[in-house]
């Protein structure tokens, strides 16, 4: 019978609509409640900011490519021989890594920033076990993972022939087999084409040998998704990422959502989530005349009500790019001549990893930084716009507070902008300098809490402080009455005063307390849609002929996710 009351904090919460009003938040047995007895532990939040535990809609923190990144970047860790200060808590595990933190550091760092849930954004079904292995070892956080379907041979067949029942049955089967949460689609068709060293750059490029186009794939996936009534919408990383002039492809991809309507019981009203839009909002024809098209893209996003996006902000760090978009990584490796790793996965997807340095004096990187911020600042509906760094592609998630600060403090971001080597060129090619908007704490609580929870279909338990929701509360050393600026703000956001997960206090003043008592959960979707004869036949046939493992050894058995939260559909 644990009871906690967080007293007199300035509460920002889109669910209860509190915009900084002073209020108490009560937690009983890990759940938000109206009131608690006098026996409750009191946490004084007077002059502090109180929000729900944050939700990360798109991050790469577990799985084969993430670990490959860890493997092949020892230089991303502590420098040898440097004596790091003793751990503040002997009960926590060793932490390491900057752009690709180890699982322990991942859990702790997210908790230090007040995050309660993260979505692993790309899980190759064949490697699902590996993803769950890492998720199991990640402390504190609740997590889920999205299997990739955009280059899956089964889906190609079903969608080409418009067999949506089979498509739905197969998706449901994969979700059960891999303990997955929803439908991720990376570079539709392009990653399969990469099996032959090719790519699909527009939504109409046919996929070699499969006679289907990216457009048909995405459209089919959306139909399937709504047919299944899954909690999350289709999660799209569209074609032609990171190339000048790609914003047309982005708009084409977004337009596919037109005419589709959300169909689910989770309060989700979007049908398509386009991720890391920053990488997809480039104009021009070459890196020379490369310019921002953030406005064009966001204008469409703002008026098209059934789509949501996340930003993918560049943080100007040395990081490690990793995506299931194999051809892109090869392209990037050819550009920066750094070490290129690639993993193609039979029948399912491909993936690549390349280190990348977002230099403060490289024009392209400065532009990318500006575009990322523009996207957030142009957004009209904060419930459909989320802030991410596409960790670790545009920068490590540990830099979220810096991104927030840039968005919330014009001075701070202008200082950065004017400090650039090419600032005049960047100011010409983007509109960032003209944007005076500063994101408010309330908007922040929408973009990092309520919105991702809603889009992921988790709004019943995450992203808010209404009674009945999970007892995840973050208290920051920010007094809205005299708002912090720049670095101080960044600092306050990166070290919570107190973070409570499921009613357990697990971080205090940025120090992780006993991580053990918090039960981290693995979320996955169990769809009631039954297997069709066709699917059963196809699966057994393809495994017999084309897979390198047997059907019987494909399923992720229960002990990989010791604490499951099964979302029944």
């Amino acid at each position: 019978m644990s009871e906690i009351i967080i007293k007199n904090g300035h509460v920002f919460d889109a669910v209860t609509g509190l915009k900084g009003d002073v209020a108490d938040v009560c937690i009983k047995d890990g759940v938000i409640v109206d009131k608690v007895s006098n026996a409750a532990t009191v946490i004084d939040a007077a002059g502090k900011t109180v929000m729900a535990g944050a939700v990360d809609v798109h991050t790469h923190v577990a799985g084969p490519k993430v670990n490959l990144g860890r493997w092949y970047r020892p230089e991303d860790k502590f420098r040898l021989g440097e004596r790091c200060s003793a751990k503040l808590n002997p009960n926590t595990r060793i932490e390491g890594g900057f752009s690709i933190p180890t699982v322990f550091k991942t859990g702790y760092e997210y908790a230090r920033m007040g995050f309660a849930f993260t979505m692993e954004a790309a899980m190759p079904p064949l490697y699902a076990r590996h993803v769950h292995d890492e998720i199991r070892d990640t402390p504190i956080l609740d997590q889920a993972a999205l299997p990739v379907f955009g280059n899956n041979w089964f889906m190609f067949e079903y969608l080409k022939n418009g067999e949506y029942d089979n498509a739905a049955a197969y998706v449901a089967w994969i979700l059960r087999q891999t303990k997955g949460y929803g439908i991720k689609c990376v570079n539709p068709g392009g990653s399969e084409a990469w099996g032959w060293g090719l790519n699909c750059l527009t939504v109409n490029d046919p996929v070699p040998y499969f006679d289907i186009t990216p457009k048909e794939i995405v459209d089919g996936l959306i139909t399937t998704n709504e047919h299944l009534k899954l909690p999350h919408s289709v999660h799209l990383h569209s074609n032609n990422l990171g190339n000048p002039g790609n914003y047309t492809t982005t708009l084409d991809s977004l337009k596919i959502a037109e005419g589709h309507t959300a169909n689910n019981n989770f309060g989700r009203d979007t049908v398509l989530h386009h991720t890391h839009v920053q990488f997809h909002s480039y104009g021009g024809t070459t890196w020379a005349d490369f310019e921002s098209k953030a406005k064009e893209v966001m204008d469409y996003v703002n008026k098209q009500k059934n789509i949501s996006i996340d930003t993918g902000n560049v943080t100007l760090d040395e990081t490690t790019t990793m995506t299931a978009d194999g051809p892109f990584e090869y392209h990037l490796g050819a550009l920066n001549h750094l070490k290129w790793a690639n993993v193609d996965v039979e029948l399912e997807t491909s993936a690549g990893v390349v280190p990348y340095i977002y230099g403060k004096n490289v024009k392209v990187c400065e532009m990318q930084w500006a575009i990322g911020l523009e996207i957030a600042l142009y957004a009209k509906d904060m419930m459909r716009t989320m802030i991410t760094t596409d960790h670790p592609n545009a920068g490590p998630f540990t830099r979220y507070p810096r991104v927030y600060a840039w968005l919330m403090d014009k001075e701070y971001r202008d200082a950065q902008l004017n400090g650039f080597k090419w600032s005049s060129k960047v100011i010409d090619a983007t509109t960032l300098a003209e944007l005076d908007r500063e994101i408010s704490l309330y908007e922040l609580s929408q973009m990092t809490r309520a919105a991702p929870a809603k889009v992921l279909g988790l709004s019943k338990s995450f992203g808010g402080l209404a009674p009945g929701m999970k007892g995840n509360v973050a208290v920051y050393n920010i007094n809205p009455d005299n708002m912090l600026k720049g670095l101080e703000l960044e600092d306050a956001l990166s070290k919570v005063s107190v973070f409570i997960k499921d009613g357990v206090k697990c971080v205090e003043n940025g120090v992780v307390l006993e991580a053990e008592p918090v039960v981290k959960k693995t979320y996955w979707v169990n769809s009631s849609v039954p297997d069709t004869k066709q699917v059963i036949h196809d699966v057994s046939e393809k495994f017999l002929k084309y897979y390198s493992v047997n059907l019987a050894n494909y399923e992720v058995v229960d002990h990989y996710a010791p604490n499951q939260e099964i979302v029944e559909v």
Binding site: A62, P64, V66, N67, L68, R70, W71, Y72, R73, P74, D76, K77, L80, G81, C84, A86, K87, P90, R93, I94, G96, G97, I100, P101, T102, V103, L126, Y127, R129, H130, D133, E134, D137, W153, G195, W196, G197, Y209, Y330, G333, L338, K339, W340, A341, N342, V343, D344, V345, E346, L347, S350, V353, Y546, S548, V549, N550, A552, N553, V557, Y560
Partner: protein
């Protein structure tokens, strides 16, 4: 009467075949018959029932004989030895499941040890090369479905991975490779004409230790530059032929093994090999896969990877940070340079596979060997703790040579009283915690300081 267990995973080599059929006796205690396995795999399963299985920990006595002791005594001895050591080495991990490896890492972190797996004397140099230049790789299924050019360089699957060629590389018919072997051109590069080389369409015999030069020559030819008439004992025409075969392919896969990692240049050989494949990608699709030896050496690396960020040779002796520097924190160097003062050998045979100079050092420091069977290491160590055999008597997760995780299956019960690796490490950790609590200290470092004072 026997019952048959299907889709059993063979826990011998990195190929991790998952289609074995094992007949076990009704009481689920004996393996009667194994189907689909290679000669080695079959032997692994069938000899489990051999007489002479050790079922109790054995402590070495003054006179050189061994005395059976209880698991409690063994665990207590292990915990104390590890706490007393200033820098213990925990080597092996390649023949157990990832659950045990994770439990072992927890222990290593408590007692400030160096965790190193068999990669250190196997594909460690491949991992160094990957750290230097990345790795364009793919799963074995991709090879099966697409590859029409296969290169075996310094590896001998016919002997080391017996079913590799039939399941993945040479013979199988896949989606785009319906012709099977007919549709593929096989190149074998080695300094001896191995049994693999005999199956190949093209065999290139190079002088021992000239791999780096030959890769360099191939890359130079690929760029249309001139090379000497002969490189590493191979005439220019032959090298040009190899380049042409590769360029004319639609999907090239290079399999490489000990022949590259154990010879002069080590990581640089693979480094240049990877770059050859990377260059090929300008003309066609090319990938490469390391022929990992032990069935879960990859998994050992994966667990270390997500827990500490390094694939092997992970030094936790600072207790607050993990360090990795092959050449310093690798087992052979640690032993030969006398950097460690205690040693735990888990699921591997250090004494049989390390150079003797290292083995002798191991024999002279307190050593605990954890192995189901009698091995060279058990005979040279102070304590031998028997455990259940993974993949036969206990399941668990293992990673294939292409990093694909596969859940191994339990076929029969372990002998009465014999515990699993995972349980053993958890119990040693628990004992360590007790000892720390008794001494009233926060960590192993303080414990040692207290002992010295």
């Amino acid at each position: 009467m026997t019952k048959t267990i299907k889709n059993v995973i063979c826990t011998f080599c990195g190929t991790l075949c998952d289609d074995l059929e094992v007949d076990v006796s009704d009481d689920g205690k004996k393996i009667v018959q194994v189907r689909n396995a290679c000669a080695i795999g079959a032997e692994k399963y069938l000899h489990v029932g051999n007489p002479g299985r050790v079922v109790l920990p054995r402590m070495r006595q003054e006179d050189g004989t061994y005395k059976d002791i209880s698991y409690e005594e063994a665990i207590d001895f292990a915990a104390k030895t590890l706490l007393k050591a200033k820098k213990p080495l925990l080597y092996g991990w390649s023949s157990t499941n990832c659950e045990a490896i994770a439990a072992g890492n927890t222990l290593a972190e408590k007692i400030g040890g160096v965790v190193d797996n068999c990669a250190t004397v196997c594909h460690g140099s491949s991992l160094l090369a990957i750290q230097d230049t990345g790795v364009p790789s793919c799963t074995l299924g991709e090879v099966k479905n697409r590859a029409d050019r296969i290169i075996f360089w310094g590896c001998n699957p016919a002997h080391a991975h017996p079913r590799h060629m039939s399941r993945y590389s040479i013979f199988p018919r896949g989606f785009f490779s319906a012709k099977g072997q007919k549709g593929r051109k096989i190149i074998c590069v080695d300094c001896r004409e191995t049994d693999t080389a005999k199956i190949a369409d093209t065999f290139v015999r190079i002088k021992q230790s000239y791999d780096y030069e030959v890769f360099d020559a191939l890359r130079t030819l690929l760029r249309g530059e001139e090379i000497p008439d002969e490189v590493g004992g191979v005439p220019r025409e032959k090298l040009q032929e190899v380049v042409d075969i590769c360029k004319s392919g639609r999907f090239v896969t290079l399999f490489f093994g000990m022949g590259l990692t154990h010879t002069l240049g080590r990581n640089h050989n693979i480094d240049n090999g990877i770059n050859f494949i990377r260059d090929l990608n300008d003309y066609t699709k090319a990938t490469l896969i390391a022929m990992r030896g032990h069935y879960n050496v990859t998994g050992a690396g994966q667990v270390l990877g997500w827990q500490y960020g390094f694939p092997f040779a992970c030094d936790l002796s600072r207790l607050t940070m993990a360090r990795h520097n092959p050449g310093e924190t690798t087992s052979v160097d640690l032993l030969v340079r006398h950097e460690v003062d205690a040693c735990v050998v888990i699921a591997s045979d250090l004494a049989a596979h390390f150079p003797f100079e290292a083995t002798r050092r191991m024999a002279h420091i307190p050593t605990i060997t954890i192995d189901p069977h009698i091995s060279m290491s058990t005979e040279l160590s102070d304590l031998h703790i028997p455990v259940a055999i993974v993949g036969v008597e206990v399941g668990g997760c293992c990673y294939r040579m292409d990093n694909v995780p596969i859940e191994t299956r339990k076929c029969i019960d372990a002998p009465d009283g014999v515990i699993t690796d995972e349980e053993l490490f958890k119990r040693i950790s628990a004992r360590v915690d007790e000892l720390l609590a008794e001494a009233d200290v926060k960590n192993a470092s303080e414990y040692l300081a207290k002992m010295e004072a």
